[in-house]
Amino acid sequence: MKKKGPLYALFLSLILLLPGCSSIAVLNPKGPSARTLSDTIVLSILVMLGVLAVVYILYIFVLVKYRAKKSNEGYIPKHEEGNVVLEAIWIIIPIIIVAFLSVVTVKTTNEVENVAADYQDQTPLVIYASSSNWKWHFSYPEEGIETVNYVNMPVHRAVEFRMYSFGTITSLWIPQLAGQKYAMSDMLTTLHLSADTEGSYIGKNANFSGKGFAHMEFEALVLSNKGYEDWVKEVKETAPKLTEEEFKGLLATDYLGRKTYSSTHLEFSPPPGNHGDHMSGGGKEMDMDNGNPEHQDNKEIHPSPEPSSGTEFDSKPDPEVDQPLPSSPVDESTHEGH
């Protein structure tokens, strides 16, 4: 038993050092969503250290005090049935702890499922993120551009990722900006995030998706507003258009480096809407609702970037998109709920 004390002391001190360690991506957030999660994690670690301390102190106490020694040779312990009061204590206190953590969980889950409090007056920048084999496609319907294996976004701007997959289930994760969320072939999932520090962050697929899974990383670059606008402008001027032919070629490839296009694949290959009608390829009618309602409770109706005239997305953002977000009553009630 003696050998174990220092070992655990070492481990406990390591846990305590955690928050100060900058290489720990999850505890080094660069945006409100990741910060909420980081705070939740640190809080839960502290509560759990309390629980551990109680168990460990009791444990060491009974092991030291009641071990078989020469002095208690022949001692036969008395029969002891249990104690209602004591047992009630170690039922009720854990219930209180769990209740407290439940409140924290419900509150923070709602926070990160929606636009962060500081950014609620903004219209989120919508980016469609879709995976195919071992690469990521990022489509910016408002800007009419598309990138492969990297994503750029402006700082201090609410961003809304809408994820889906052209194959296996994947999970989009930029640890320093937000928690992960799955991308599946038959529904759209939504991830809200925003960055408050410029910089380059690692993004990855967190869900095992076969042979090339380990290489499925991308760069998330957070630029100044000016930098972002310049980049968009440059892309639109210099990058080629993404044709259906070209896109099919991209889908068929296993791995790719970075690619940039001045149009999106959403026009000829719309994201999944309801069951059955997705991936049909030829559907011109864009189904931009938020996935299958059966699968999602997150039923906010987002301003649809649907082109007014049924033509391609053009360079000018659709006027509808610039409407302030809390335009629908559904939205307002969801935001006030927490």
């Binding site: 999850v26 049935e81 799955y182 999932t189 967190a206």
Partner: protein, 649 residues
Amino acid sequence: MDLDKFKVHGEPLIYGAMISIALATIGILVGLTYFKKWGYLWREWLTTVDHKKIGIMYILAALLMLFRGGVDAMMMRLQTAAPEMKFLDAQHYNEVFTTHGLIMILFMAMPFIIGLMNVIIPLQIGARDVAFPRLNAVSFWLFFMGAMLLNISFVIGGSPDAGWSAYFPLASLEFSPTVGNNYYSLALQISGIGTLITGVNFIVTILKMRAPGMTLMKMPMFTWSVLITNVIIVFAFPVLTVALAMMMFDRLFGSQFFTMANGGMDMLWANLFWVWGHPEVYIVILPAFGIYSEIIATFSKKNLYGYTSMVFSMLIISLLSFLVWAHHFYTMGQGAMVNSFFSITTMAIAVPTGVKIFNWLFTLRKGRITFTTPMLYTLAFIPIFTIGGVTGVMLAMASADYQYHNTMFLVAHFHYVLIPGAVFAVIAGFHYWFPKVFGFRLNERLGKHAFWWIIISFNVTFFPLFFLGLMGMTRRMYTYSEESGFGPLNMLSFVGAVGLAIGFVILVYNIYWSTRYMPRDTTNDPWDGRTLEWATHSPIPLYNFAVVPKVETRDALWSAKHENIPLYTDTKYTKIHMPSNTGKPFILGVVFFFLGFFLVFSMWIPAIVSGIGILVVLAFMSFDKDQGYYIPVEEIAATEKKLMRGETV
């Protein structure tokens, strides 16, 4: 027929494995012939219906699988020990972690526990065998053949490679075109049927065959845990059976339950899998709680503190285990409401688990604690499992899980739960009950050596993974770059894994050494036990108890020894009815193996023949008129006399 399907891709490691498997098989066959042991093997083991021998076979198979799964684990830790390692390629690594998970959960932890319960439960409740001894043999052979089917996948055709959870559409024919996942659906199906039968068998055994006077609330805690576990098995395994059948139809016959097109739903697989998969975790952990309860009571010389709340906590855990599966989908966009509900049910499991921890601590309080090897594993379980438990609560918080999901943090958590919660438990139970089954103890000094290696190395291996998870390392990555900074901690973890391997080698050496040199135990009760299994001889005679004991208190033997409450009021022998051995369960298992194998490779005609073969064997079994036999009184008297003198029979 396309012979290429049987080949696995050319890698020296796999060829090495093939050669060693072939050599070992030839060695065993030659050895059996040379020592003329074929008859012995058939009469004593392959055809046995004795619960003790079936239990021993389960445990042997589990130890074998522990070795296989352990080698997989070593290969994984070696491959990730440093950035850009070139030991395994992606495909091979994927197969290794998939089979590591499958084998450790389904073919190591579960059979080890089923083995212990086979050996011990009838003894603990004062019964002569399980309720359906021949069905018990069927269970074992189905499990064993399922395990073998999965294992040959490594050298014939290729192993499953879509993870042990085999999420669709990744596991579909489109994205996993090799036969690997056919093996998955068939091997798990065959052994799963065996497990389901075990569940039924043990529920009936425990409910109907207890010694006179043993009411439900006088059952030993291990018996309680096994009863609850088997209820979970009976509720959970049919879900797996259906899910695997659908998977088989998808992969072999082109149905579209889980595919991307034609209305298939990948989420349906995920839901079915975890509706079974989460209770499965408690199937391996609840019996461990039972084992620890027995050991703590024995080695602190006290009755279990808070017996009633222990029973109720297990009942509540079993109920909650079916209400938490969606915590695997926090990150699937199911919305804040659903996530909140499953967060709360998941965290709620911590309450009954905490009750058990405190009850154990209070059992130790005012006891007289001796540190034997089984007790050391039990005592090490408490602090380590508590870390696993509190990190489980952290993971249960849906929002925080967005950051832990699919990362090494999760991997660390479930190893911190499953290794102390299942592996230490079966090792502790193995050391604890070994003298009962074989009549001698394992060496304590070697046992403690192995213990310290295993405990320290375990923490060195898995604690760094918590940090790796928070640093952003996802699970199932076969390689990573230097810049990621994952290198040093992974190397530390590899060092720990080597230590763990050394610990297990010492453990196995201890079995060998003790078999040769440990003195035979003549007391039948080397630990001063409390429950009925210690009231019979060691090794145990075929009929377990010459006279069925009578139970008045929870710790019946303890009361008999220390409180003068006699176990036997009537000591006259009567003839004992026993079931006869039969080879049909073994043959049934073999035919199932062939059915599975032919289906894996879509060889329809032999598969149909095997399918008919199964029906034929079943028909023979159902028309079997063998009603067993009686052991005459004189024979019992003679055996008892010999056993009293300390001779083996």
